[in-house]
Amino acid sequence: MDAAGKMFLKHANPQRFLGLSAVVLPWAAGATVVLVTAGVYLALFASPPDYQQGETVRIMYVHVPAAWMAMFCYSIMAAASAAMLTWKHPLAAMVAKCTAPIGASFTFLALLTGSLWGKPMWDAWWVWDARLTSVLVLLFLYLGYIALHNAFDDPGRGSRAASVLALVGFVNVPIIKFSVDWWNTLHQPSSMVTAEGPAIHASMLAPLLVMAGAYTAYYVWVLLLRVRGEIIAVKIRALQMRQAGG
């Protein structure tokens, strides 16, 4: 455990991160462009309409990966927050902080596209069922995290307070995931995880998975950009302090 921790710390120092991320960055950007292009083409043109939903099914290709990323980003944020509180590692703190606005955007996108789908399919823009409500709570957790981060003059204190909130809020992630199984909801259960395998035809599963790949590549790309910016900002602040002091 400690050996692994030391290995992690050795390879995760900010200076090393700048070098490593400079190599990964163009690949993540390239993967995003290629996968988004392929995904949008597959989702909007090269996939069939649904036997019930018709063309409205195409909203699913934007909505479902956004909802996955909303939970994935929160999990990353919570894990990085735990690492930050345990090892006081600056890079973990930056990953958590930089993930928050990206995750919040994915959550907002999932809520927005879900609403646009709900009106023609359910005949309601919004209902207070367990799935929709728990995802709205997720958005508020992200916004609360961002607000708490900025609420202190001392960035260290803001970071610690927000990390605790991120960890407490992590309880919500399994609630979102299993809400459709635990309670009666208007939202349908998962099409991916069923006893009989995915309840979604291969011609629709393919664009969905490509879009999920596109969103993931986009997250990696933007996260690296933001963390690099954060490291450089810290360096600039340190230089300014030194100049002001000397």
Partner: protein, 154 residues
């Protein structure tokens, strides 16, 4: 090192306690979390029915009767019991027999007077040709059964 272990232990125990607390709370308020009740829950008197509530299930096959002035009567079933529903107004596009539905309203003389009907979409996604092919080859039953099983209409 020791401090790190302490902090990690603290986080793990804290999260465990929090999860337990959340589980207890959610179990305690389960009745207000569910979006709708099944016909069986209603007929067995599990909940009070002299108030506004939602009934959910499948639209029973062959039960839809369209009356005058866009009034429609049908039965909502969870395959164990069924509740008669009456509704006046526009129905959602996905409203059909054997499809999921959630009706909001109240009971009057044993009939559920709905003032809002929501369609509940299932988790099956396929192109129309595949749906036709499945129906033609007789495999549609299997899908419908899995739909009924997983539709949370127990």
């Amino acid at each position: 090192m020791r401090l790190r272990h302490k902090r990690l232990t603290f986080i793990v125990i804290g999260l465990g306690l929090l999860a337990a607390a959340a589980a207890l709370i959610l179990t305690a308020i389960e009745d207000s979390i569910v979006f709708f009740y099944s016909p069986t829950q209603i007929l067995e008197g599990e909940i009070t029915t002299d108030r506004r509530l939602r009934v959910g299930g499948l639209v029973e096959e062959g039960s839809v009767e369209r009356g005058q002035d866009s009034t429609v009567r049908f039965r909502v079933t969870d395959l164990m019991s069924a509740v008669p529903v009456q509704y006046t107004g526009l129905l959602p596009d996905l409203f059909a027999e054997n499809q999921g539905v959630v009706a909001e309203g109240h009971f009057r003389n044993g009939t559920f007077q709905a003032d809002e009907i929501l369609a509940k979409h299932d988790e099956n996604y396929m192109p129309p040709e595949v749906a036709e092919a499945l129906k033609a080859s007789g495999q549609w039953e299997a899908i419908e059964n899995s739909l009924k099983k997983s539709g949370a209409f127990e």
